[in-house]
């Protein structure tokens, strides 16, 4: 089972090119995802998580975006070299995506059953009857009565809409599911339901998943591995246990300091100082150094390499503060 990676990203660099500026959204990102595993993408808004996800789907509009370099290897093939036609046979079929906001992810003028059946008709069967039957099954799997299939998105609550979105994403039992903050727009009680649902379906189909989130609680609940992303690069990567119990990067540490911990009596939160750097004008050296409490001279001059501090636990920091 070694080296059975569903997805490998090598040295991916994505830029937004506009009249006034060039924005580096993703910088030399590399990662590997084992089949059947769930990888969490953690980071602040604007760190490049969604851009990475959309690059995997090849959904970034060109222009203004440009994939400058790198490879995205899915099931052993570099999908950046594939034709759009080939990509259309992969999207929704082998790789599915759940979008951030269920309120806007469904087409408001099409009944939901049609929206589910659409993806089935595209990839699985040309038989309309069979496709609609499968769509109804999917509705029931996500615990929506099939009678409601004829209704339009505005007649559903946020949580139900997200379940419809999940039904669409999983209708063709994809190998890889990319979930872009699937629960951010939902109430806390609904969040748990949706997460459990995703987990169950994923388990029964052995689907691999990338879970994009800024919520470490969701990471703890749903992920096997975690990639912490800052300003378009992975700054720390490891198993969930590595990240939660022995995180090494100052940014990861900062993220954990922002979570209230009731077990400690002195529960003062320590926010990370400053804001995300302007991606069109990134700092030299380590991109985190202006906000890093441990920064030394070297951090502003050289960009640290990613190094392995224990088996599979990578950190992109000189770790001077630990010496």
């Amino acid at each position: 089972m070694k080296n059975d990676y569903i997805l490998e990203i090598e040295d991916l660099t994505v830029k937004y090119i506009t009249e006034d500026s060039i924005v580096s959204a993703v910088n030399n990102m590399s990662l590997k995802l084992e089949r059947g595993n769930t990888l969490g993408f953690v980071g602040e808004t604007g760190a490049g998580k969604t851009t990475t996800a959309k690059s995997i789907m090849r959904l970034l509009p060109e222009p203004p975006t440009k994939i400058e370099s790198g490879k995205i290897i899915f099931n052993g093939e570099n999908i950046l070299e594939k034709s759009i036609k080939h990509m259309q046979s992969i999207r929704g079929n082998k790789i599915s995506m759940i979008f951030q906001d269920p309120m806007t992810a469904l087409n408001p003028v099409i009944p939901i059953i049609d929206q589910i059946a659409e993806v089935i008709l595209l990839h699985q069967t040309k038989d309309r009857k069979a496709a609609y039957k499968r769509a109804e099954e999917m509705l029931e799997i996500v615990e929506i009565k099939k009678e409601r299939g004829e209704e339009y998105p505005h007649q559903f609550s946020g949580g139900m809409k997200q379940r419809v979105v999940i039904a669409i994403a999983l209708a063709c039992t994809p190998d890889l599911l990319i979930a872009d903050e699937p629960t951010t727009a939902l109430d806390v009680t609904i969040q748990a339901q949706v997460l459990k649902l995703m987990h169950d379906i994923k388990e029964s189909n052995n689907t691999s998943m990338i879970m994009i989130t800024h919520d470490l609680g969701i990471v703890a609940e749903a992920c096997d591995n975690v990639a912490v992303i800052y300003a378009g690069s992975i700054v720390e990567y490891g198993t969930k246990e590595d990240i939660f119990n022995s995180h090494a990067h100052p940014y990861t540490e900062g993220l954990f300091n922002c979570i209230p911990d009731l077990s400690k009596t002195e529960s003062e939160l320590i926010p990370i100082k400053g804001i995300m750097p302007d991606p069109s004008d990134l700092p030299t050296g380590c991109k985190f150094h202006p906000r890093c409490p441990y920064a030394v001279d070297r951090c502003s001059k050289e960009e640290p390499e990613s190094k392995e501090i224990s088996d599979g636990h990578m950190v992109k920091c000189f770790l001077e503060h630990r010496k």
């Binding site: 999207r91 929704g92 408001p108 339009y152």
Partner: protein
Amino acid sequence: MLKYIIRRIIMMIPVMLGVTFVVFTMLYITPGDPAQTILGENATEETIAELREEMGLDRPFIIQYFDYVWKIVTKGDFGRSYTNQQPVINALIDRFPNTIILAVSSAAIAVILGLILGVVSAVKQYSIFDNFSMTLALIGLSMPNFWQGLLLMLLFSLKLGWFPVSGFTTWKHLILPALTVGTSSCAIIARMTRSSMLEVVRQDYVDSARAKGQKEYIVIIKHALRNAMIPIITAVGLQFGAMLGGSVITESVFSIPGIGKLMVDSIKARDYPSVQAGVLLIALSFCVVNLLVDLLYAATDPRMKSNIEGKA
């Protein structure tokens, strides 16, 4: 849905009453005595007074107004033309089909061409096609239609001889006037479609359609355009009014015997009942079109539909 249609028709009534009131008031305040106008310069005081009584002109304004409306509603009687003493309704029936044919064919040109230009421009934003068609749209918007009509006539009728100069009997007579009337509406619809499409194509649901693996042209037509249509339908409705209006001038340019030409000729002849009837008829057609547009709107946008059904 039926209840909504009925409610909308009932809602049209006060608007139409308002329109008749405005038009009637304008006629009422028009200087000059209708009886005098009909009888001419040489009529005696007595004959004029007789005719005034016969026409009911000696009654109070409000009575005359209701009488006018009552006659229209019950008998289709719009009064008699001052110039030929014939009931105005006869002229209207003769000419109305021509105006409607012209407006409908202009609308067809404007909608089809406008949608195509707008959608392609939005999909290929900032391309040569986009720049070219939007420049063309802006020029179309800036060109007075009577001038455009004359230019088309000069080129295609007088110089090339492809189409007849005037009259309105065959389809060949229809092409140039319909182009003339349709151009500015086409430009407006194209601009509107482009901006509406640009708004829609960056919505998440368009990306989710792509994420399903749907082909790009189906994404554009089925997912983007259907949503973009909602504001466009409203614009098309308003443009139909503009096209009915535009036909007034264009009918004069191409000598088409329609309501517009009737009105222009009647104004010059101070034949006010004909002007009044023409305005009323076109306003009524416009109201009907707006009703149809609203129904179409409700059919396109399920949010509207359930809103309506919720209320009904």
